[in-house]
């Protein structure tokens, strides 16, 4: 009865290694994705038609094709053009390029959500254009963008499982390897499922605590009734819409 669990947990070092790889890849990919998202949003709001066009092609091209295909393109197809990535780099690149397109739209919507009156008011009291952005637009945009951005980060963590398909030993790939060695499917995949649930929930929880502290007035209305439950913060917004 307990023997399968004992076998499963004897692979703890491999699971921990994989957990680390998944985390590192997700964090790195998200950082690049955020930079891409800011650049993308600026491009889509640019005065130059060409930049707007490039931004639109990026967003629509990425959002209307599967991530797995984007990953395969980077890993299997780019070498044909002389661009070579190892599995980790390809994973980071694919996840970053993909999430970057979604973040472009999130950040663009966030910038748009700041009422025009705020801009006009800031300008009329004589703030320089740079200060208008830095002290008026940016803080307000950040506030409205924070929850969907965090959700996107969680999507990157879950999406990093696809990198298993190019043989990077992250969590999912490690599960497949150990499964083929031990055939303890139920035990191994339960462990991996729990590890992913742990990652996504801890991320949501930490982000929520930070969000409560960082924004004034607080991001979520306080009081016990309206506060979202610990688990329901995960995937709060429906993905991709």
């Amino acid at each position: 009865m307990l023997a399968p669990w004992a076998t499963t947990f004897s692979y703890a070092p491999a699971f921990l290694n994989a957990l680390w790889l998944t985390t590192a890849m997700s964090v790195l990919a998200f950082l690049f994705a955020f930079i891409l998202g800011v650049l993308g949003a600026l491009a889509r709001r640019s005065h130059f038609r060409l930049l707007r066009f490039i931004g639109a092609v990026y967003v629509e091209g990425i959002r209307n094709t599967p991530v797995l295909l984007q990953l395969f393109m980077i890993y299997f197809a780019l070498p044909q053009a002389g661009i070579r990535f190892d599995a980790f780099q390809a994973g980071v690149a694919a996840l970053a390029v993909n999430a970057g397109a979604y973040l472009t739209e999130i950040i663009r919507a966030g910038l748009q959500s700041v009422p025009r009156g705020q801009l006009e008011a800031a300008r009329s009291i004589g703030l320089a254009p740079r200060d208008v952005f830095r002290s008026v637009v940016f803080p307000q945009a950040l506030r409205s963008v924070y929850p969907p951005v965090i959700n996107q980060f969680i999507q990157v963590i879950l999406g990093s499982s696809l990198v298993s398909q190019i043989a990077l030993p992250e969590l999912t790939n490690t599960a497949q390897t150990i499964n083929s060695q031990t055939l303890l499917t139920m035990h191994i995949f339960t462990v991996v499922l729990v590890l992913y649930l742990f990652l996504s929930n801890v991320t949501a929880l930490v982000a929520d605590l930070v969000g409560r502290r960082a924004f004034k007035p607080p991001l979520y209305p306080s009081g016990p009734r309206r506060r979202p439950g610990l688990l329901s913060r995960v995937g709060h917004m429906v993905r991709g819409s």
């Binding site: 959002r63 094709t65 295909l69 298993s164 599960a175 991996v192 649930l197 996504s200 429906v238 991709g240």
Partner: protein, 216 residues
Amino acid sequence: MGWQGIIDSSGILFTGFVNTLTLSIATIILGTALGLVVGVLRAARIPALRAPLRIYLEVFRGSPLLVQMLFIYFGAAYLGLRGVETFIAALVALTLYEGALISEIFRAGIEAVPRGQREAARSIGLSRFQIERYVILPQTFTIVLPPLVGQYIGLVKDTALATAIGYFELVREGQAIIDRIGMPIEVFVVIAAIYFVICYPMSLVARRLEKRALHA
């Protein structure tokens, strides 16, 4: 260049296209049905169902679809269900996953209908089922439709993961072609274009519905 090779492989590509479409449509039907049932039950706040539905939702939303799919595919073999086809395993996993996401769309739509509607329906003597069927759900339609179409776009793209368990949808057929003739860039670009042709019109429809819902 050697586009001739890709033209020669168009039969394989077409098979992949049909398989992707079959899996997508089957998942849309089953996933929407599951999502509708779970969404209505969750909005009804039935005490006995609260915890199990919540657990279902959190597990399937908080873990990767790929892991769920591998779990179901290998798990079926482990439990002695021999010969579970890749199509069935992919369909079950996709239905459970998309159903969880879709249930939240329905729940939000139902909760957006004013309470008075339900009270009025009850006061004229409609049964619980009649209330949902004839009073509540018709009113959720405009609210639910735009995010639902958005979710279907994600769903079509998610069917690509069935590659991992060996279902011959577009991506896997693409790899099969590359194994024979090489030219990964050209082949993958063609496949990306096929997905784009399916998904982009859906994006336009979703955007339009969203605008209309805002004006309604």
